[in-house]
Amino acid sequence: MEAPNPESSDSGAAPILRLENLSKDFASGKERLKAVENISLDINKGEFVVFVGPSGCGKSSILNMIAGLDQPSEGQILVDGKPVRRPHPDRLMMFQEHALFPWLNVIQNVAYGLRWKYRFKPRFRRNRARELLKMIHLEEFEKSRIHQLSGGMKQRAALARALAPDPTILLIDEPFPALDAMTRQKLYSDLQEIFSATHKTIVSVTHDTREAACLGDRIIIFTARPARFKSEILIDLPRPRDPNDPRVAEFAQKIMGELEGELDNEKDRLNGLR
């Protein structure tokens, strides 16, 4: 290996995440449905990339493949030059539903991903979990049960759980649409704060153009099913960004323009893959 330690190499020199001719089919009865078709993409270290596409276009399956939860039908995904075969805590996912474990309390959930890496360091695990709870302003709720948290608090706890093992890549699968506007705005600013502080590589999926413009450095727009690369938009606005900033709105408009044609197509394809 030429660069065994990615930290030492110049950021941006080699992509941390590379999708090569990625395709994914699903069996549906006798037919095979194409969900993702021939996507090639490089994502650099420390980049915040947002996938936008009509809902059900297959962008979530790209995320699942990056996480290692699904295998591509064709092509491959390389992380630091190595192909992805299975899930690994270096690539953590924040799921659409929070997916917090109801049999554990808040701090146990946040510390869960540290158990195997730091098996004999229970104190370290607890301190690390506390640190993260503090970062997302949930320190008073460490002993609470999951069902006692509000929707926004659950998503924040899920974010803390995904950040605890210090992944190099954070994957976010539309975790915000079920929340009210206020809560969402708070999450956007938390997420940007964390992004700026930790320099994580983040790949997120959404169909909300305003959210994409507020969060992403680079927006990748996909076609309706099967998901194919359509275009990309770079957003060079300073952070932290406010979703109500007119410049953000302008970019959102631009993304919407790219999407418009795809949304018409989508109407013919209701009941598509999720």
Partner: protein, 261 residues
């Protein structure tokens, strides 16, 4: 859903119901609607139980049945949870075993007694056998159902968070399936309790089932009814206060209690 009605007079309804039941029972005897040599009055039953207790014959029998239950049911639990785990993780095992266990569950627990006599003679092992065969299918089926109903998202989250496969059963699969499993554990206990008393009817010289049989042989209806009441009380006590509280605690932790009201 059971409601915890504690407002106003509601908390007196249940005691009042039992008081009424016993009063009607006593009145039936007093007015000779049923002759008391056929069916005892509540007072006769209470007196007989008191006699059995003071002669030192009631408690050893209760104890014997409880000890048999704790041994037999522990084995049934260990087997049921293990088999249920295998059934929950392998679709083939589930398809094969589920029909078998559903079939075994249709068998009345007392139907295991003759075969246990043939296999184990009059030893206590036969009673354990009946308890295990009565309780284990319910535990196994509940365990596998619970595992199959786990939302896939928990398993996916656990895998991405680095859970090694050897740790999945105890860190994720069992905990996630626990609410359903506990229901099966309660049902298994009740069925095991039926099995224990049925087996004792035939093959023991101590135990609640034995006292029942003795009462019949001595034509002592008061003893038979008395032991029936004791059997119900202990079965209910353990079901409600041991397993019931575990279940309630679990449902509270998971937030399932509010959701169902």
């Amino acid at each position: 859903m059971r409601k915890t009605a504690s407002t106003g007079y509601a908390k007196y309804y249940v005691p009042a119901f039992y008081l009424l039941l016993f009063t009607i029972w006593q009145l039936i005897i007093i007015f000779h609607i049923v002759p008391d040599y056929l069916f005892p009055s509540p007072f006769q039953v209470a007196r007989r139980l008191w006699e059995l207790g003071s002669e030192g014959r009631l408690w050893p029998s209760i104890q014997a049945t409880l000890v048999r239950m704790s041994i037999g049911y522990s084995i049934a639990l260990a087997l049921g949870l293990t088999i249920g785990l295998v059934m929950g993780l392998s679709t083939i095992a589930n398809k094969c075993m589920k029909s078998l266990f559903l079939g075994l569950q249709t068998l009345p627990t007392a139907a295991w007694v003759p075969i246990s006599l043939l296999l184990f003679g009059l030893s206590d092992h036969g009673i354990y056998f009946v308890i295990i065969m009565s309780a284990m299918p319910a535990v196994a089926i509940a365990t596998s159902d619970g595992i199959l109903q786990i939302p896939p998202i928990y398993l996916r989250a656990a895998r991405t968070l680095g859970t090694p496969s050897y740790a999945m059963p105890f860190r994720v699969v069992f905990p996630a399936a626990l609410p359903t499993i506990v229901t099966g554990i309660k049902l298994g206990w009740t069925l095991g309790w039926h099995g224990a008393v049925s087996a004792e009817l035939i093959k023991s010289s101590v135990g609640l089932g034995y006292l029942l049989l003795l009462g019949r042989e001595l034509n002592d209806a008061a003893q038979v009814v008395g032991i029936m009441i004791i059997t119900i009380l202990f079965g209910l006590l353990l079901d409600r206060f041991l397993f019931g509280l575990i279940e309630l605690g679990l449902r509270r932790r998971w937030g399932l209690v509010q959701a169902e009201q």
